[in-house]
Symmetry: none
Subunit: 402 residues, 2 copies
């Protein structure tokens, strides 16, 4: 049984909830029986919260399933990630400040390098730096297509996002990245007849772009992936009666937060301390705060165990700034696991810490780590339950039934 009518119980109050997500937090020991990244990190502040609060571990999607960042975040936000699939193109586009409305078709693009025969020799155009790539994207803005509007925006390094707006467009398009070298980028193919118009337009756009790029030494071609339109998710304001804000450095996470109607907070700097400072500046304006730390995942993906440990320690070190704000409910967790050992996202349960000084049960765990979370008082649960738990502990829900 799953309770699906949270909305009927909402009882807004002034208490404040912080959802602190360390991306890819869950890890693995380098050797069986060893310590994970989180267990290795010195985290006196998180350990105190663990002792005072309650631990558990979440399944982002389900047992054995490795999530992408989009579905993993939707799950934490309380939206069934299977029912609400959000295309990567949409996340990329709105993450850099473009709008994607219902009916628009967004895509994420990669510059790549092709040889004289047109075959891909580098799928990421030598990870061309932002300062070289941004001016190239500017030149692509000149492309116009009949009857529709095209917007393009640079994201980072070799990555950009495109949105085509017009009537009768469908995002059911196949990706053009062959995901291997020695092959030419594919054409955009429609998955069904209703997507033919969008495919034609994207192919026209690619042809015009290739003409502009043809003399570039590295970024002389491109691939497009993740075609998608606005999934039309209900906003936090409507779904939870929460005025939510997002403090995140990376576009994609600002994007997914914006999809559920969070206010995106702009700030200078990239460190956890910078993020907590930004949180402090908007503390009085909102009642729910999603704070996203990216680099735990980046180092995990790089296989850099020590790097991930240090990011966790830097979050712990900066945590007093957040605690000084006196949140009523603080959840510290990850969206998924990214063990340095595997150099990729994984299916392992994700450590979850719930601290709510006025209303949280204490369990017997004294430290924030995977081993402790597996024995925590919250048990093992789907991440989809994180928001009901947060709302319950913030006493923002009425009783169900008499």
């Amino acid at each position: 049984m799953t309770f699906n009518d949270i909305k009927s119980l909402l009882a807004p109050n002034k208490s404040k909830i912080v959802l602190l997500v360390m991306d890819g937090l869950g890890g693995l020991p380098l050797k069986p029986g060893g310590k994970t990244e989180l267990e290795t990190a010195k985290t006196p502040n998180l350990d105190r919260l663990a002792a005072e609060g309650c631990l558990g571990q979440t399944l982002p999607i389900d047992y054995g399933i490795t999530p992408g960042s989009g579905p993993a975040h939707l799950s934490l936000f309380g939206y069934d990630p299977v029912a609400h699939e959000v295309g990567r193109g949409v996340l990329e586009a709105i993450g850099v400040g473009m709008f994607v409305n219902k009916g628009d078709v967004a895509a994420r693009g990669n510059f790549c390098t092709v040889d004289k025969a047109g075959l891909i020799s580098d799928r990421r155009a030598g990870r061309i730096p932002t300062e070289e790539a941004a001016p190239i994207v500017e030149r692509l803005k000149a492309i116009q297509l009949p009857g529709v509007t095209v917007e393009i925006s640079h994201v980072k390094e070799h990555r950009f996002a495109v949105v085509i707006r017009g009537e009768g467009l469908s995002p059911d398009l196949e990706e053009t990245d062959p995901q291997k070298l020695g092959v030419a980028p594919y054409e955009v193919k429609p998955k069904n007849t209703s997507a033919k118009k969008a495919a034609d337009l994207y192919n026209q756009w690619i042809a015009a772009a290739r003409e502009i790029l043809k003399d570039e030494p590295k970024a002389n071609a491109l691939t497009l992936r993740g075609f998608a339109t606005d999934p039309g998710l209900e906003s936090y304001a409507s779904r939870y009666e929460l005025d939510a804000a997002c403090v995140a450095v990376y576009p994609m996470y600002r994007g997914v937060a914006q999809l559920v109607g969070m206010k995106i907070i702009n700030f200078a700097g990239e460190t956890p301390a910078d993020e907590f400072d930004a949180l402090g500046r908007v503390w009085n304006d909102h009642d729910f705060f999603f704070v996203h730390i990216k680099k735990t995942d980046s180092y995990g993906e790089d296989g850099n165990f020590e790097g991930k440990v240090h990011v966790i320690e830097s979050v712990d070190e900066a945590l007093p700034k957040l605690l000084a704000l006196k949140p009523d409910v603080l959840i510290v967790t990850g969206d998924h696991s990214t063990p340095a050992l595997l150099k990729s996202h994984s299916w392992h349960p994700v450590p979850f810490l719930l601290w709510a000084p006025d209303a949280a049960r204490t369990d017997s765990q004294q430290q924030f780590g995977e081993t402790q979370c597996a024995l925590g008082g919250l048990g093992t649960f789907h991440a989809l339950n994180a928001m009901p738990l947060a709302l319950g502990h913030a006493q923002k829900l009425n009783k169900f039934g008499a």
Copy 2:
């Protein structure tokens, strides 16, 4: 995946199951890291059962959701509380021995005090004592309405229950209690046109009652809430092939037991020892026994931590009377948590103890408490699974599949 066809596996035998519910059992420490009410209580008998049996913790409804008493009990009884919402009026009425059949409309009533302008000055008529309120209810029995039958019964103090029986009545009526002072009681309003007849009848009844009450010093008016009809739940006899009995002091819990066809046992006294004595007297007549202890919840609601501790201790002290009957399966749990700290029902998981000397697995827990239950061998599970666990351990279920 949930197994929904228990009925196909039923294999009745003579083993006896006791479901001992301490209402609102789950608690919280007064300070983070401290002990809960249950952990504070000295419970040598329950601790022995915990050591010999298996612990766990239940979610009455779902993560973060605080249940009312009705849905929380339905869940323990194995009826999906979201699919089967039972109106409070029905629980109140059948709790004092009235019948509520399909099509009848029951309501719970409160006497209140109104001033000369007809505005409420006390929503509970000064919590008028039972000996004053009961004769007033008797006088209201004189009211007759055209084409229908009206029954009214006193419940406790300022509370009573009304049932109107007739053709074409719908319980989709809005409550008349404005839930605040300085406002007149509302009229009964139908939520849709099919409820107009019932609304008219209830308004006629209220007008006649007001006439009878008008010179009362305290109970000179009334409000009605929780309009409802029989939800038509399947009986324990049909659903589980169990001959079930209920030993409970409070009307509401006798009411919910009667809804699922349990035999309500009448007995003198109010203590846990009195209840276990009553259990002993009917032990040979039934094979399932629901025993309900109310005061753990009452003290929790009052914020009386010590009071709740003492009730738990009094249950433990009387427990040998129950154990002497040699139940095959004994479950000791709550319907929900009512931490004295919060002075209300809460969403926290509920301690669950399963003792079945012939068939229960033992876990590593030696004491009955929230911290131990969170580490128990049964894990964290929806209360809806309590009945299948009971039936399984009583060996009343056949194997599923070959």
